[in-house]
């Protein structure tokens, strides 16, 4: 394609189209960030804190995080809470691939951040960012339920600013 030196103003049609696309994206991101349906993937002690996160005292429902479906086909957020061993890695990825796009991942606990207690062990994945893209990490062994709320707020902010891993990698339909 030839590059012309002539300057031209964007037409009215282009301006409207660009504005409309931005407007639609903002509305979509607002909707996505405020109804995150999580898939619970609890393998050890962090899962107990995840139950408290969904219960009355630390109410996840007020952020739109409904523990509703609990099936990978109806979720858009996966809470990986607990140690992921090397045998479990395939099962985790199998579940993750069944989720529809866009999908977000929160890694819960020291084991999923860096290996934690099982660092340098022969049978533990040292941080699940080795096997899947992670949006937010929650440190702690196990973390307090309030930190789950914080992670969800961080994830909502990322989605609204188009900065989550799914949006960066272009996995949106």
């Amino acid at each position: 394609m030839e590059e012309s030196n002539e300057f031209s103003y964007p037409g009215l049609y282009e301006v409207i189209f660009m504005k409309a696309e931005k407007f639609i994206n903002t509305v979509l991101n607002w909707g996505r960030s405020n109804s995150l349906w999580p898939l619970t993937f609890g393998t050890s002690c962090c899962a107990i804190e995840m139950m408290t996160f969904g219960a009355t005292k630390v109410d996840s429902d007020r952020l739109g995080v409904l523990f509703a479906g609990d099936s990978p086909r109806q979720s858009d957020l996966i809470l990986v809470s607990g140690t992921i061993t090397k045998k479990m890695a395939r099962r985790l990825l199998n579940v993750y691939e069944q989720m529809p796009d866009p999908k977000y991942v929160i890694a819960v606990g020291a084991c999923n951040v860096s290996g934690g207690l099982y660092h340098d062990s022969y049978n533990t994945i040292e941080g699940i960012d080795r096997i899947m893209p992670v949006d937010a990490f929650i440190p702690g062994c196990p973390p307090r339920p309030e930190e789950f709320l914080d992670a969800v707020r961080v994830l909502q902010k990322l989605i609204k600013e188009n900065r989550s891993k799914a949006q960066i990698n272009g996995n949106i339909r």
């Binding site: 090397k86 045998k87 395939r90 990825l93 062990s121 022969y122 994945i125 080795r130 096997i131």
Partner: protein, 154 residues
């Protein structure tokens, strides 16, 4: 223990009694090929195999079969030594069926072969995992550390 005297007469020099108390005894067998015959004899008095543990005295390994019975809750520990040259022992799965998974675990973590086992696969670790991790000479190197068993794209 009454059965111990009976066992001792049947196996003569191959059987060594290390501890002999009223409800607890430790025996060791020198010839590991006799283990099936011995297990049939033990089955008459002891009806369950509690555990099978392995001790690594490199280069030799020692298997500890822990038997018990429901009636008196007696304990019998049978020690079998295996050397590096012949790294296999006969399976006793057809005599004590709980030996099935115990032997799979010993195969998984120590690499000991059990002849005549119906389904000798790994039980805890993935099928294609390299090495046997509970041996003394096992080292966690970069190959083990980065092994995920997945072909990842990113």
């Amino acid at each position: 223990m009454a059965t111990l005297d009976k066992l001792k007469n049947g196996f003569k020099g191959d059987l060594e009694v290390m501890t002999n108390e009223p409800s607890f005894s430790v025996i060791s067998i020198k010839n590991k090929k006799l283990i099936k015959k011995l297990a049939w004899q033990i089955k008459e008095e002891f009806d369950i195999l509690y555990a099978l543990t392995v001790v690594d005295y490199s280069p030799n390994f020692e298997l500890n079969y822990i038997f018990s019975n429901y009636k008196n809750a007696d304990l019998l520990i049978l020690k079998v030594n295996i050397t590096e040259k012949d790294f296999a022992v006969d399976s006793i799965t057809d005599i004590f069926s709980s030996a099935n998974w115990e032997e799979r675990e010993a195969y998984d973590l120590f690499g000991i072969k059990f002849n005549g086992h119906p389904d000798l696969r790994r039980i805890l670790l993935p099928e294609d995992w390299p090495g046997h991790p509970l041996r003394k000479d096992f080292k966690v190197d970069d190959e083990i550390r980065n092994w995920t068993g997945l072909d990842l794209k990113f």
